[in-house]
Amino acid sequence: MRYLPKSPAERQEMLAAIGAKSMDELFSSIPERFRLRDALKIPGPYSEAEVIQYFKDRAAENSLGYTSFLGAGVYNHLRSVVTDAIIQRGEFLTSYTPYQAEISQGTLQAIFEFQTLMSQLTGQEVANASMYDGSTAMTEAVLMAERLTGRQRVLVARSVHPEYREVLKTYAKNSGLQVEEIPFAANGTVDQQKLKGALKEDVAAIVVQSPNFFGVIEPHAPLAESAHASGAMFVVAITEGVSLGLLRPPSEADIVAMEGQSFGLPPSYGGPFAGVIASRDKFVRQMPGRLAGQTTDSEGRRGFVLTLATREQHIRREKATSNICTNQALCALAATVHLTLLGKEGLREMAEQNLSKAHFALSELLKIPGVRRTFDAPFFNEFTIELPRSVKIVNSQLSREKIIGPFALGTPYPELTKHALVCVTETTPRAEVERFAGALKRALEQPV
């Protein structure tokens, strides 16, 4: 089959074959007001040279030469050229979904190894072949808890990534799922008293993120205990996977949802990313998506197959476990290659560098008059500070010094206007942290 545009004659032929007189008749079931009457507003056509120039211009808009202190769900980490070299091999780059095990052993084995790495990192028994991203993985984790408990109320910490909560609310809107948000305490962790107050016998899941959106590490054990005491599932979301190089894995969780971007995927224009969902073996049949499984062939040799796909939408239609019908195979492969190159020690060392550089940055920034630390709970590579003036104005001044400033918390958290979320990873040299502190000091000294 060739993927070429159809000629008007071919369109007429196809319309005749299905018994429609015109395109208008074919689309007659779509209400008039939703139909596109004008041509699509797209530029072009361009010649090859013009297309290349267009992309060169766009590439020049990239923040080359800037140092970033922006994290908030997407993190800048070192990546090896080996990762790109491997994922760009045609066998991986162009291969289709590995439904046919006989011709897909390489892809299936890579997915199987990804699952193994993810379950080891998250302290869970089983991880699937990947989800779209962290936000959809977290939402699917909640829906999974809903199926497992038969309950429809979910308690989500406000310290969970605001965009993750938006995605959850979008899914919940027409599904009968009630989402309730739990405030954060003065130290930046979820308010456990408020959480316990809201926790009734009708709660399907408690959802927290750790390190949470403020960079603060949530205490898993007491939260899991509260959830389990009322028959609810304990769901942990992770946006910064590198934290697992140092922090104890959330093994108390019933379901873990993670963003895999930190593992070998660059922070490029919002994606593509790879979501991770991991859980206990006994819940595997309520897990969305698919798994690669290890098996033996008729001659006893090791082989891999796609499994649980029998519960996906293209087979079970409206009875499917979830509406996800694919996975992020290439991004998952990048994560697998990246983590395999790093190894256990490498990941730990990377995590240690994040921790110590972020703590160094905090101590440097606290030397600036008027800068205060917002929350005092332990943090990994992100922390929140309060500035004596608007974060957005400060950031515009920082950008003149080629610094991408911290995330302004005021938009998602109106009570945190003037508070900024600073991210420091292993990619940030000490001298750049000092330059940032100097630039911030100058920005704050400028007359308003």
Binding site: R285, T310, R311, I315, R316, K319
Partner: protein
């Protein structure tokens, strides 16, 4: 495999064995053969109300996940827990050891409208011809 003469059968390939107002329900040999190797079953908890013609569980094989439909209305008394660890029994003994649920029927007489063994065998023979045609 023979189809027990005392059972009744549905067009969706379930069997029901009625004794008074109690009944045992399973899937037929034809159904297990069509499904292939069964790897998992999902069954309702005791106390669940089932409705005639409505799905009460699923059977998962290496090829597909299929709904199991209730041949008659009633309340589940017991689900066959053995199948959780040995779902392959559905392939080896579908009319016996691999029963799925035991129920108390709301209206035992309603079962009489289902096919008997001879009618069911004729039904699957006819279906076989359609497929091969």
């Amino acid at each position: 495999m023979a189809y027990p003469k005392t059972y009744r059968y549905t067009k969706d390939h379930e069997w029901i064995d009625v004794k008074g107002d109690l009944a045992t329900i399973g899937i037929t040999d034809h159904a297990q053969h069509e499904l292939g190797d069964v790897v998992f079953v999902e069954l309702p908890k005791p106390g669940t109300k089932i409705e005639a013609g409505k799905s009460f569980g699923t059977v998962e094989s290496v090829k597909a996940v299929s709904e199991i439909y209730a041949p008659a209305a009633g309340e589940v008394l017991e689900a066959n827990g053995e199948l959780h660890n040995t779902p392959e029994k559905i392939n080896s003994d579908p009319h016996g050891a691999a029963w799925l649920i035991k129920v108390r029927l709301a209206n035992p007489a309603a079962v009489n409208s289902l096919m008997d063994a001879a009618a069911y065998e004729a039904y699957i023979a006819e279906k076989g011809k359609e497929t091969s045609a």
